[in-house]
């Protein structure tokens, strides 16, 4: 079990053809904070090797969905399945096992501030592998180099920039060579070049690790560049209104909110969407 985590890169087929098996299934999911229902009736499937993007307006519940998928929040109804096994209904030990195959990058990086970058990445390795200190140092060095932070191992999170923190968070999320990587707005707050580099990195990870990637993002260029599949959450109807690849959505989804979002606010043809309200009134 313990070695499996470190060897998982080797045993996974890299590039499977179309018709890939389902990896994550969301079934009939409702999410709520007390009486306030954030989203209801979410059902979709994420295939192995997908770059799956969760889209929607600010405050519609994307982060909430992602937190529910990794067990930080409990759904009000419905379940999340990984490889056909229910995560929601799993007992704590089983959940922990499933979590070990996932890596999460939080919106602000969420590095452990009392540990150096190297220690941040080393911690999961110490907890879940039998690697000795020298081997761990090697792995840490590799992960830091992958995100372009070679040599920053001894820095504390407070002493590096926000973008570097995100990349370090990514390195930590990859520590155990996860099968699924979750990203919450990875490129928010990054300059265009860094965010392009991050996109490339994500694609690289997907092909080299064969990982499934679940991504929350507002960045249209990223969405069109890297997403193979996605879901659109609508703030008004409090449910999902479209699934499929972003290109498909743009071409064939009739929902005006989806069109407006994917066209960056430019009104869709036929859907008299709102632009600069009030300017006509004066």
């Amino acid at each position: 079990m313990l070695e499996a985590a470190t060897r998982s890169v080797a045993i996974r087929e890299a590039d499977e053809p179309v018709g890939r098996p389902a990896h994550i299934v969301i079934r009939d999911l409702d999410m709520a904070f007390g009486d306030f229902v954030v989203m209801r009736g979410l059902s979709f499937t994420i295939s192995r090797g997908d770059v799956f993007v969760i889209m929607g307006g600010s405050g519609c519940g994307k982060s909430t969905l992602m937190r529910t998928m990794v067990g930080l929040l409990e759904p009000a109804r419905g379940e999340v399945l990984y490889d056909g096994a229910s995560f929601t209904a799993a007992p704590p030990e089983r959940r922990e096992e499933m979590l070990r195959k996932m890596g999460v990058l939080f919106q602000q990086g969420a590095l452990w501030s009392s540990l150096t970058l190297a220690e941040n990445i080393a911690l999961p390795l110490q907890q879940y592998t039998r690697l000795g200190p020298a081997a761990i140092a090697e792995v840490v060095d590799l992960k830091l180099s992958l995100v372009g932070l070679r040599g920053f191992g001894d820095y504390y999170p407070a002493a590096i920039s926000g973008g570097m923190r995100k990349r370090a968070g990514l390195a930590r999320a990859m520590a155990l060579d996860p099968e699924i990587l979750f990203f919450d707005e990875p490129s928010a707050g990054l300059d265009p070049i860094s965010s392009k580099l991050l996109d490339d990195l994500i694609l690289e990870l997907r092909t080299s690790l064969g990982a499934t990637i679940v991504l929350v993002t507002h960045e249209l260029p990223s969405i069109f560049a890297i997403a193979t599949n996605g879901v659109f959450l609508d703030t008004e109807s409090r449910t999902m209104v479209a699934t499929g690849s972003p290109q498909q959505m743009l071409a064939s989804c009739p929902n005006p909110n989806v069109q407006t979002f994917l066209r960056r606010g430019a009104p869709a043809r036929g859907a008299g969407a709102s632009s600069a309200p009030g300017s006509e009134e004066s």
Binding site: F36, R67, V70, G71, L72, R95, E96, E97, L99, R100, M102, G103, V104, F106, Q107, Q108, A110, L111, W112, S113, L123, P124, Q127, Y128, R172, L176, S274, P277, G278, S279, E281, S282
Partner: protein, 377 residues
Amino acid sequence: MTEPHELSFRRDEGQALEVRLAGSWTKAEGLPAVDELRRAIDLPAPPTRVAFDARGVLRWDSALVAVVDRLVELARARGVPVALDGLPAGVVRLVALADAVPERAGAAAAGRSPGLAARLGEVVLALWDDVVGFVPFIGDSVLAITALLTGRARMRVTDFFLAMQDCGASALGIVSLISLLVGLILAFVGAVQLQQFGATIYVADLVGIAMTREMGAMMTGIIMAGRTGASFAAQIGNMKVTEEIDALRTFGISPMEFLVLPRMAALFLMMPLLTLYSDFVGMAGGMIVGVGMLDLTPEQYVKHTMDAVSMTNFSIGVVKGSVFGVLVALAGCLRGMQCGNDSAAVGRATTSAVVTSIVLIIVTDAVFTVICNVLGL
């Protein structure tokens, strides 16, 4: 420099309301009360329509926009149509922008101020939640301790040593100072009374027993609540805010084992030592008064203290100290884990950790006293 501005309402025969604005409408001049606006709309009856005449406005900023927006909102709520022409074009655009996103249903609920009874009820419910919130936390910590004892707990030994240092060696200074002063005060108060009976030597008994049974443990507990408990709450609360705790969870690492356990273990181990130390420093304080004020010799004082203070007294104090240590760690960590996700919440968590610890310490001390009394110790 403020200039006068003018706001007047005029109704025509058809009951249309014309709002006339003139002068300088900036934040420096202030805003009219909402009630005044409401009266203008509602009295004698809602108008058929609202129009503006702002030709006399010399200067404006968001003050004017706020007034107009409020009027528009009041009118809309009563189904009265509003014509915005007659206002500066910038104001019209800003008002339209402010109205573009409808208020989320329930979003304003938090702003309503409830009545006295409702508030009292809320306080009681919050208190109850507080008590109930402690129970699962204690359960979790027992599980974590079991994991520790069976060697399955995931915590870094370094964290444990850091916590030990933080609540052991680094606390010696303040514990010394407070204990010495408490010993001095006890001896002084006792001396004044005992002098009347010529029984000054009993100051040694008084200070010795009071320090070992009660004051050593309690003062150390309270110091640790303010020093270490508060810092635990702030550290953990801040980790909550920055999602560091969530990051632990997603790695399947229990924050109970990883964060709470080393801190609790460290306080549990250091508190008895600190208590003993405090006992001795307190007695030294007593001796200073005894020797300096009451003309006792140090030998006399030490001998009397040794006769008076039994092993039982020491043990009671030390046991209490350990229990207080666990309570302080629990309260600090619990408040940290319960912390909301902004920096104000961290402040509240810290305050609440100290208050909770001190209340728990005093209540537990009372319970101990009763138990010792029943057992005849």
